[in-house]
Amino acid sequence: MNIHEYQARELFQKFGVASPKGKAAFTPEEAEQAATSLGASQIVVKAQIHAGGRGKGTFDNGFKGGVHLCKTPAEARHLAEQMLGHALITHQTGPEGKLVSTLLVAEAVDIAKELYFAILFDRTTSAPMVIASTEGGMDIEAVAEHTPEKIIRVSVDPLIGLQPYQTRKIAAALGLRGSLMTQATKLFTALYRTYTETDCTLVEVNPLVVTPDNRLLALDAKFNFDDNALYRQPGVAALRDKSEEDPREVAASEFNLNYIGLDGNIACLVNGAGLAMATMDIIQHAGGKPANFLDVGGGATKEQVTAAFNIILGDKAVKGILVNIFGGIMDCDVIAHGIVDAAKETGLSLPLVVRLEGNNGPAGKKTLAESGLKLQSASTMADAADKIVASVHAA
């Protein structure tokens, strides 16, 4: 799950991570009020969408740039009027852009030095890891590749957390001495608290800046949260902005389906995540292109299969459907009835290939054969993939 920049600033304020003062504004009036309350000599107004490249984007009304500097509250209001309620098109949004309904109005700070600081969950060590670098404001993966000596890595023992000596070690490596070291220790500790107490898998501050008057501030941040922990993080779950997500994926999640849209034309419906990935792979191997990843889970009830068909059919690029179910515990005949009912209920007319294997498989195949539906039965995954690819190519 991703959050907006203004929400990240609010988390920083809550956990005491030093960052420039800022406020969210949903109307031009609020933008003006926010700018007034900041009392800053220089103000930045930023469109809040999840896509990158905001500064260089263009609004659907022709207004250029999703990030603007200004000096007065009146100017902030004027900028807000041209940004709010309009779609911002950037290289990441696609041609239709993303509707801007929120702005961040913040104190603009002068920058003497840009640094990089992140805490992430490291799979290799099964522990949190701090990654820091003097090369802030850049693509950190490029820095790691070209100048690996400029990357500082510190592993954190999850049982005792980030220790003060570790924060000093990182500060020293970043060249933060004197009062900046004290500020760094405080800021890194607060960030680690944010990371653990909100169940993050990533907090990335890029850039972390030193101002000419020697303040250390987290300027921009990216958060990733552990979806498994959202049940105990209602405050974080409330930050979810569904308008930023693929509507098909939002619909799928409401039925406990795991759906990810892709750009092919053969949809698949599978039980189990590994088998679902393998089904996409075998479609490609047979010469087709998968339209989605879809795991209906272990149960695959009629309601779930119906919902899954509806989501698949909502994708107009889809020209055929492959259902691949390994009924281990589930009775294949029950699943077959679910597929038949769902296909009838959704008025399915596209080519459909069903591969049912496992418990009570022959009865399931008989149910499919006698359903009166125009579907093909397949015995193996390879057979199923060949059949659906051939049908889609013939259509």
């Binding site: 799979r123 039980n271 995954m381």
Partner: protein, 302 residues
């Protein structure tokens, strides 16, 4: 022989009175597995009854282990309580805990893993189908089924199977059984990014197990566990290994169902894993339809 568990293994079930735990405890009893105890806090003294079996339920793992001699636990406890359930097994001195629960927060699991590190208990999972050592009866009855795998698709034999995915494991097992080749033990290590037992750990065990003659290793995108296992196998494993990696067509940066199945920062790609496996002499199946066939060819059986 087999690895980790056999027909004599005495198993307790944490969460036996919940619907999911109860259903799979029943299926394990039907399979002939020694389910000797259940644990549900607050329900100690009750009995879990099924088809003539009467399994005592205890309030704590320690009591259950002491009273029944159980050495292995299977965890069906919901995510908020699962980390605690695993630590309770470690404290009670169990040899093995198999965590089926899907959806345990990462921060809970990294603490559990750090806490049990260096101790005597092995953890398999979480978010895994569990393990099966097939028995000699009809449809492999009489074996040890711990978790949620369908027992009847197995057959006693000499192929070890290790996998991160449940249904792909069943697929491989069914391909083997359909061709007349049985399994020594099948281990689902789970789809989470933090797990107790890795591919490498299981390969080592299969390598030492006299009953295991050949191995199928199934992986998927995300992390580097398959690469590490392959590197070790290339240098040390004496037995033929066939493999499959799911997720060749998965887009980077997206989590494919399993919490651990994600390509990030260019790491954990299917291509990288397949290349590492081939470099180690592992025969990688072109499609999931030919996992057994690929092994049988390498093994000289076809």
């Amino acid at each position: 022989m087999s690895i980790l568990v056999n027909s004599k293994t005495r198993v307790l079930v944490q969460g036996i009175t919940g619907s999911f735990g109860a259903k799979h405890a029943q299926l394990s009893l039907d399979y002939g597995t020694q389910i000797v105890a259940g644990v549900t806090p607050g329900k100690g003294g009750q009995f879990f009854e099924h088809a003539g079996y009467k399994v005592p339920v205890f309030d704590t793992v320690e009591e259950a282990a002491r009273e029944t001699g159980a050495t292995v636990s299977v965890v069906f406890v919901p995510p908020p309580f699962a980390a605690d359930a695993i630590l309770e097994c470690s404290d009670a001195g169990l040899a093995l805990t198999v965590a089926i629960t899907e959806g345990i927060p990462i921060n809970d699991m990294i603490r559990v893993k750090a806490k049990i590190h260096g101790g005597s208990m092995r953890l398999i999972g979480p978010n895994c189908p569990g393990l099966v050592t097939p028995g000699e009866g009809k449809d492999s009855h009489g074996g040890c089924r711990i978790g949620i795998a369908p027992g009847h698709i197995h057959k006693k034999g000499n192929v070890g199977v290790v996998s991160r995915s449940g249904t792909l494991t069943y697929e491989a097992v069914w391909q083997l059984t359909s061709r007349g080749y049985g399994q020594s033990t099948c281990v689902g290590i789970g789809g989470d990014p933090v797990n107790g037992t890795s591919h490498l750990d299981v390969l080592r065990m299969f390598n030492e197990d006299p009953e295991t003659e050949a191995i199928i290793m199934i992986g998927e995108i995300g992390g580097t566990a398959e690469e590490e296992a392959a590197e070790w196998a290339g240098a040390h494993c004496k037995k033929p290994i066939a493999g499959f990696i799911a997720g060749t067509t998965a887009p980077p940066g997206r989590r494919m169902g399993h919490a651990g199945a994600i390509v990030s920062g260019g790491k954990g790609t299917a291509e990288g894993k397949i290349a590492a496996m081939r470099a180690a002499g592992i025969a990688v199946a072109e499609t999931p339809s030919v996992m057994a066939e690929t092994l049988l060819k390498l093994w000289g059986k076809v």
